[in-house]
Amino acid sequence: MIAADIISKRTVTSTASATAQKQKIKVNIVVCLKQILDPEIPSRDFRVDSEKMEAQRGGASLVTNIFCENALETALQFREKFGGRITALIFAPAGGEDSLRKALAMKADAAVHVINDGAAHPDPLAVARVLAAAVRRLGNIDLVMVGRESGDWGVGQTGGLMAEELGIPSVSFVDRLEKQERGLLLHRQTDQGWENVEAQTPLVVTITNDDQNLPRIPKTRDIMLSSRQPIIRWSLEDLAADDAGIDVAEIRAGGGYYRVVDLAIPTKEIVCEMVAGETLEERVDQLADRIMSVVRSL
């Protein structure tokens, strides 16, 4: 059963000028990527470094955060339909280049690597400031796409903070977008269902996953060729040079927004407790009590 309630429908003004605009505008998209520890690392291999307040890498790989890949996929599909140019952007240590190479293999048009030579996990405001500065430096960006959150820290603030840093609006949990005669039409997921949002550019959107934006598997040829494509590399100093908002020392130190004071693996010894009781009835009563206490705590 689907209950629909349409809030309002704005009428489109001046179609003539809008059509002219449509032909002129080539949407310039930046997709921000994050590289994270493989979220599928088995629990038994998962260790934390309580000095550095981060997970130990061990033998696990670093991967591009899945929501970032969803964002890139959404951008690629948008470009296929409406044209445009996609720049993949990452703020990461040298190894972050792998995520950019994969983005290029998936057919992003350009790649920008802001080298992080400071704290491993700068706080979300530091990250947002760096990314926003890079977006400003690129210039003429219409649309910034980021993943809704990352699979490691799950912070979920980069998009919103970037919007504020850039002084532009943002819409979260988008899973599809289309170009309209005026601006964009965004489809986004909500707790109860979905919403369609009309938006003007420039704009930040955070992308969530949907069965339509599963990241494509790059073609082998493109993987092989991606290793030769150019990557633009900027240091924090490069960004600070023409951007007063960048405090290099503070970013290298991890930022001044928040800090992690504790990171620990919760000790959960799983021992199955078999419900006890003389009779079957007693045991089932026990079972029912346990079930109910779990359900009530949810």
Binding site: A3, G156, W194, Y258, R259, D262, L280, L287, R290
Partner: protein
């Protein structure tokens, strides 16, 4: 005068999430020695404001002229003004779509810091510390917010509701003026109110395996799931046998679920299946084989033929629900 502000969107009513936000807000306000002001965003929440008034020190119903309930830029601007005006020391929100969308931006506008998905809030050295699950539930982190105000969206269901005050708080209405031409505009909304929410989102799942021996017992599992407000799922073997729709399949090749309670009935626990429930918080099992692998992953269980257990269990749970 500074205060703790809790923000609730009117559309959902005084549900468990709203209760959690209020409860967390109350305890935080008490810890800081500040009053708790609950803000209802959007009109029409008459009952909600009343319920909040019973537990808060002040209630404000905030509307924006021309906005039915929510428009990102308009609502954000109105909330920023309100929080600034009231001198918010801490702002709490739930973890619904709109709260998550607004919280970081609100923090930024207020010059504060935000953190999300909090399950525990403590004050240490005058700073708010937020505990949350990280690395896909493999670790817990405590984050200290370095700027004021602290803006936190919380896993509201993790917090107990607040207890009622002796004197209900006053309820005031505030209508904010819209700020210019908004660049984003929600034009259409659909609520998919269905009995079949996504299995991935289910809080309770009752699942059946090959040991059920046929399709009929799934009706009993559905009854049980209904009693617990949950959904029904199955192992690959059961789906393979055609006892239930393939969409019910949980496992490596099926759905990956993360319920609060996963009750496995007559499921042995092949790794194929376990791979789909590794994010479940509590797993419980009914199986007549004490060596069934599933028990190695359970918090509790019963070694008994499900045929004997299910009728009794249903009766008992139904009775408990009535209480």
């Amino acid at each position: 005068m500074s205060r703790v502000i809790g923000i609730i969107f009117s559309s959902a009513g005084y549900d468990r999430a709203a209760q959690g936000v209020t409860g967390a807000g109350r305890r935080l306000a008490d810890a800081l020695g500040l009053p708790l002001q609950m803000v209802v965003v959007g009109g029409g929440g008459g009952d909600l404001a009343g319920s909040l008034a019973a537990v808060a020190d002040a209630v404000t119903v905030l509307t924006v002229t021309g906005v039915a309930d929510y428009q990102p830029e308009q609502t954000l601007a109105a909330l920023t003004d309100l929080c600034r005006g009231e001198g918010a020391q801490a702002v709490l929100l739930g973890n619904d779509t709109w709260s998550q969308e607004l919280a970081p931006r609100l923090a930024h506008r207020l010059g504060g810091s935000a953190a999300g998905d909090g399950v525990e809030l403590v004050i240490a050295d005058g700073r708010l510390r937020v505990s949350r699950s990280v690395y896909g539930g493999k670790a817990m982190a405590t984050i200290e917010l370095l700027r004021d105000p602290a803006v936190v969206w919380i896993r509201a269901r993790a917090f107990d509701p607040a207890t009622a005050r002796e004197v209900p708080a006053p309820i005031e209405s505030l209508e904010a003026a819209p700020t210019g031409e908004p660049a984003t505009f929600i034009i259409e909304r659909k609520s998919e109110v269905t009995g079949e929410a996504r299995l991935e989102d289910a809080q309770v799942i009752v699942s059946g395996g090959r040991g059920l021996g046929g399709p009929e017992p799934f009706t009993d599992l559905q009854d049980l799931a209904g009693l617990l407000g949950g959904q029904t799922a199955a192992s690959r073997a059961a789906c393979d046998s055609g006892w239930c729709p393939p969409s019910w399949q949980v496992g490596q090749t099926g759905r990956k679920v993360a319920p609060g309670l996963y009750l496995a009935v007559a499921i042995r626990g092949a790794s194929q299946h376990l791979a789909g429930i590794s994010e479940a918080k509590t797993i419980a099992a009914i199986n007549n084989d004490p060596d069934a692998l599933i028990f190695k992953h359970c918090r509790f269980g019963i070694v008994e033929d499900y045929r004997k257990v299910l009728p009794l269990l249903r009766e008992r749970l139904a009775a408990m629900r009535k209480e």
